[in-house]
Structure formats: C-alpha cells, structure tokens
C-alpha cells in the first residue's frame, strides 16, 4: 500500500516507543492487545512507574512539614514536579499551578471559588454543546448557588463550534466562558485563542478544559491567553488521582479557598484563620505526592518524545484510521469537524455500541462504548451512544487493522 510508505514514524521507531510501555506487551483474551481507549486513560511509560517506585523506596515522607532528610526530599519531588508542569504549560510561575485530583476537581474548584465570588443573578456562564459532564455540572451547581444563568454555544452537524452563535451569545452579561480544547466524544479541536480574544474583549474570563488536548497538542497557556486551564494526569501518561489547574496569579490570588485544612493556612486561631500563599492556598491536606512524582516524570517523558513527533504520528494515524473504519459497511462517523485529533467516534447501522465493544474486546481491541460522559452530545446527534476508538503516541496501523478486522466480525455476527 502506498500510504504505508509515507508513514511519518518508521515502524521501528514506534516499536521502540511501545517498548517503553510495559502493559502494551500483555495479551487480551489470547490476542495481541490493541489499546484504543486512550481518551479514557492512557497507558504509562516505565519512567513514570519508576518515578513512583523511586519515590516510595527512597523519598517518602510528608511534604512541607518535617525538617528531616526524607521530608526535604519529598518536598523537592513534589515542588519539582510543579515546576516541571509549570514549564510544560509555559505558566509564568509555578505558583500558578495547583495540584488537584483530576480535571474535574480543577473545574469544580474554579466554579465554586471563582464562581462563588464573581457570579450573581443576571450574570451568564457560557459553555459549549460538546462539553464533558465535568465541564457542565459544576457550572450548573454554581448557577444554582448564585442565580447566574447557563448558556450553551451550539455545535454544527460536523461537531464544530458555531462561532457565529458564540459571537451572538457573548454579551456584557457573560462572566466566564468554559470550553474544551479537544472534545472527548467528537475529537473536535476548538479555536481556543480566538474564543479567548472574543471573551476578553467582552470582559469575560475563560476556562479551558484541556483534559483531552494536553497529551495530543503542545499547550502554551500564555500564548493562548487563557485565564484557567485544567488537565488530568492519567491522560498525560501519568498516574490517576493527580490533576492540574493553571490559573493566572492575579485571579487565583483574589479567589477564596476551596477547601480548608492543613497546608492551606498561614495561621489558625479559633477566631479566624489566614490563608497560605499560592499555590498552597488551594491545596488543603496531604497531597498526592507520589502522583505528582509520576506526573512530573510523565510530562518530562512527553517532552523527551516531543510534540512534533507525537502530533505528526497521531495525525497520520487518525487519517489512516478514518479511511479504514469508514470503509466498513454500515459505519457512520460522528464528529467530522475539519480540525480534529485522535478520536474516532462512530455508529454501525442499528448495531448497539455495547455489542460492538464486547465483540471487538474478544479480538483484543479495547475501545470505549457509551455516551462518553457527554449525554448532550449524544442528544445533539440523536443517538444513545457511540463506539469510540482513540489514539495515543504508541498506537500503530496494526492496532487500527485489528479494530477494522474485528468490526467485520461484528458486521457478520449481527447481519
């Protein structure tokens, strides 16, 4: 096949990259594992696993507390990871990086803290029709508490953001715009810099949900101009239980704490307490130190591989997969925006996605089936669910071919 010759990554290069991910060598139901559920979570390279093991074998103690050797080491690991992450997103300072549990907690933090202080009746919160539930529900809660109204930017039939509708919906009442950079259900890449420019011109701040984008695209929060950006460690080839909230220092400084407890205070008396400086004000209690160690290693790993290589490989593979999956009779893609990355959502005639998922699983292929925590997206396209194959840096044409062969099994079975 001629397309094969033009593959950006040589097969040998991807094979050696795959060797860095121990889990990719396992078998699934006696078959080669084709892991195509990366939008749910990515697999972890050895460097991340080693960083966690090293932490527990040579560095473990609580942070910011003891004066002893191990506590100093643990604090260095934790704050070192923060500096690495700040650099990865090009934040102005490590103070602007708050460690959270995941992307969801980052959005909840902003919706509760910033929302509580800045939203009142008559204000509007603007989100998009392609959001993950985690960028919908926290805003609904904030609106319920404050009396603000939630507005939704529609998407077109390809799954692209309707920028004209956005321009109409953006008014002096809009206090915050919260959109994803890359949709997990559709693969759409949103023009974040353009959204930010328009929102700022209207006097609104912008939160970007980068849970999906941050492991596919280089993210420079200052170049994008965002006010808040959230990401989640387990999709960044890092561990679960650790996420990142970037916030502009001036905004974070003015915001009230989200949770109270140890580490987030400067002083405590029974009459009143005062808050610690950034970023600690937003990190109550003992943090996920091992998670930060793993996340620090993960973003270093991503930088070592490099986004030039990652995006080129993933783009080429998505084009290959889109063509190959579309050729399976009965397949219809859901999400065909011109600017897309790494996600292939589809339906197959009247075969239910769960049946597709179970059949391809037995062929060693891991995909996600269901509503992908984006029920409004499913409603928009009038379907209960989709099957979704999602790519990461270590996927190959062999993975895609294995999926396509399994989809032919599905078709034969339910014909």
């Amino acid at each position: 096949m001629s397309a094969k010759a033009s593959a950006v990554e040589s097969a040998a290069a991807v094979a050696s990259l795959r060797d860095e991910f121990p889990i990719l060598a396992i078998e699934a139901h006696g078959r080669r594992l084709a892991y195509l559920d990366n939008a749910a979570t990515t697999q972890k390279p050895r460097e991340v696993l080693d960083a966690i093991a090293t932490y527990y074998t040579t560095q473990n103690a609580n942070v910011h507390r003891g004066v002893h050797l191990l506590s100093e080491r643990a604090t260095e690991v934790f704050e070192g990871a923060r500096a690495t992450v700040a650099d990865f997103f090009n934040a102005a300072s490590a103070k602007e990086i708050i460690f959270t549990r995941n992307a969801t907690e980052g959005i909840n933090l902003v919706a509760a803290s910033w929302g509580g202080a800045n939203l009142t009746a008559g204000d509007e919160v603007l989100i998009s029709a392609m959001e993950h539930h985690s960028n919908i529900v926290p805003w609904q809660l904030a609106c319920q508490r404050t009396g603000a109204a939630l507005k939704v930017i529609p998407i077109d039939d390809r799954g692209a953001l309707d920028m004209e509708a956005f321009a109409r919906l953006l008014t002096a009442r809009t206090k915050i715009v919260a959109v994803s950079q890359l949709s997990n259900a559709l693969g759409t890449i949103n023009p974040v810099a353009e959204v930010v420019r328009a929102a700022h011109a209207a006097g609104a701040v912008v939160l970007v949900d980068g849970a999906q984008a941050a492991y596919h695209l280089p993210v420079d929060v200052r170049a994008l101009g965002v006010d808040f950006y959230v990401a989640t460690g387990h999709k960044l080839y890092g561990p679960t239980g650790i996420g990142v909230l970037y916030g502009r220092e001036a905004l974070l400084d003015a915001m009230p704490p989200y949770q109270g407890g140890g580490d987030m205070i400067a002083s405590v008396t029974f009459e009143r307490s005062t808050w610690n400086s950034l970023p600690h004000k937003f990190e109550a209690g003992t943090p996920h130190i091992e998670g930060a160690a793993g996340l620090g290693a993960a973003v270093k790993f991503i930088r070592r591989i490099g986004f030039d290589r990652i995006t080129a490989h993933e783009r080429e593979l998505l084009a290959y997969a889109t063509a190959a999956v579309s050729e399976v009779p009965g397949v219809r893609l859901v999400g065909t925006a011109p600017d897309k990355a790494s996600i292939l959502s589809f339906v197959m005639g009247d075969i239910h996605p769960h049946d597709i998922g179970t059949v391809v699983d037995r062929a060693g292929v891991a995909i996600r089936t269901g509503h992908h925590c984006a029920q409004p997206v499913m409603a928009r396209f009038g379907i209960p669910a989709t099957a979704r194959a999602s790519l990461a840096m270590y996927n190959t044409r062999e993975d895609v071919d294995q999926l396509v062969a399994a989809l032919h099994d599905v078709r034969r079975m339910f014909a």
């Binding site: 139901h29 179970t358 037995r362 089936t369 209960p384 339910f414």
Partner: protein, 148 residues
C-alpha cells in the same frame, strides 16, 4: 470466533435481537420503565394481569442485543404465569445470570441461553434490566427502575 462470544451471542439471542417478540404497547395494563444510567439503555415493560395471571406481556425501548433479546424472551416466558410464578421466575433468572461461571446452568427453558452473560460481568445488567422492570410492574411499584 471466540468461544465466549458464541456463548453470549447464541443464535436464539441474535434472532430475538433481530426480531424482538411482543415489541409493542399494551393499553390499559400495568406499565413500568427501567433505565440503565451507565449506558443509557431504557425499556418500558407492559403487563396485562387478570385474576392474578399474566395474560399478556410486551416491551418497548432501546438497548443492546442482550437487553433486547432478554426482554423479548422474558415477555414470552411470563405470559400465562401467575403473578407468584412470575416472581419466582424473576428470582430464578437473577440467580442464573449472577451465579459463578462454574456452576451448572439451571433449566429455565429458552431463558437458559442467557447464562452466557456470566462470562461477561459488564453485560449482566443488560440482561437483567427488563426483568427488574417487570418485577417492579408485578409488585406495583411506582418508582422507575434503575440498574444502579
């Protein structure tokens, strides 16, 4: 094809998925809705109960092959049973689909084909949704059924 898959998608199941039986509304009988929030599947079960006997059973809804076939087979199995027998059948069915893989498959007639879901823990809820919904209809519950 994988053996487990053949156990799950038996010919009877594929057939009931393609041509679900009693896929219709029964006016004026008992009606109950069931919902699987995890996957969005929903089913409405209709029962016509007279003199303590299930005279007619039907369903509507959307779901995977297992959910649809299970609902279809259930409507056939319930027809003609007394309410007590229907409850007993529900319990037997539940016991079958949640029993360990090694245990023998009980003889529940055509319903026994659904024992294949035991090998697929994530699909047990698909098979039981219609049954839980029918049970609620038998018991005269008001609240919609959720598998969660």
């Amino acid at each position: 094809m994988n053996d487990g898959l053949q156990d799950l998608y038996r010919e009877v199941i594929l057939d009931h998925n393609r041509r679900p039986r009693n896929f219709r509304v029964i006016e004026g009988g008992r009606r109950h809705e069931g919902f699987n929030p995890l996957c969005g599947d929903r089913v409405t079960v209709y029962l016509k109960v007279e003199d303590g006997v299930v005279r007619d059973a039907a369903f509507e809804g959307q779901g995977c092959a297992i959910a649809k076939a299970s609902a279809s087979l259930m409507t056939e199995a319930l027809k003609g049973l007394t309410v007590d027998e229907a409850r007993k059948r529900f319990a037997e069915f539940q016991a079958m689909v949640t029993s360990p893989l090694e245990s023998p498959v009980p003889d529940l007639g055509k319903l026994s084909v659904l024992a294949g879901v035991r090998e697929f823990p994530t699909r047990v809820k698909c098979a039981s949704l219609a049954w839980h919904t029918a049970k609620a209809a038998l018991d005269g519950d008001d609240a919609p059924v959720s598998t969660e």
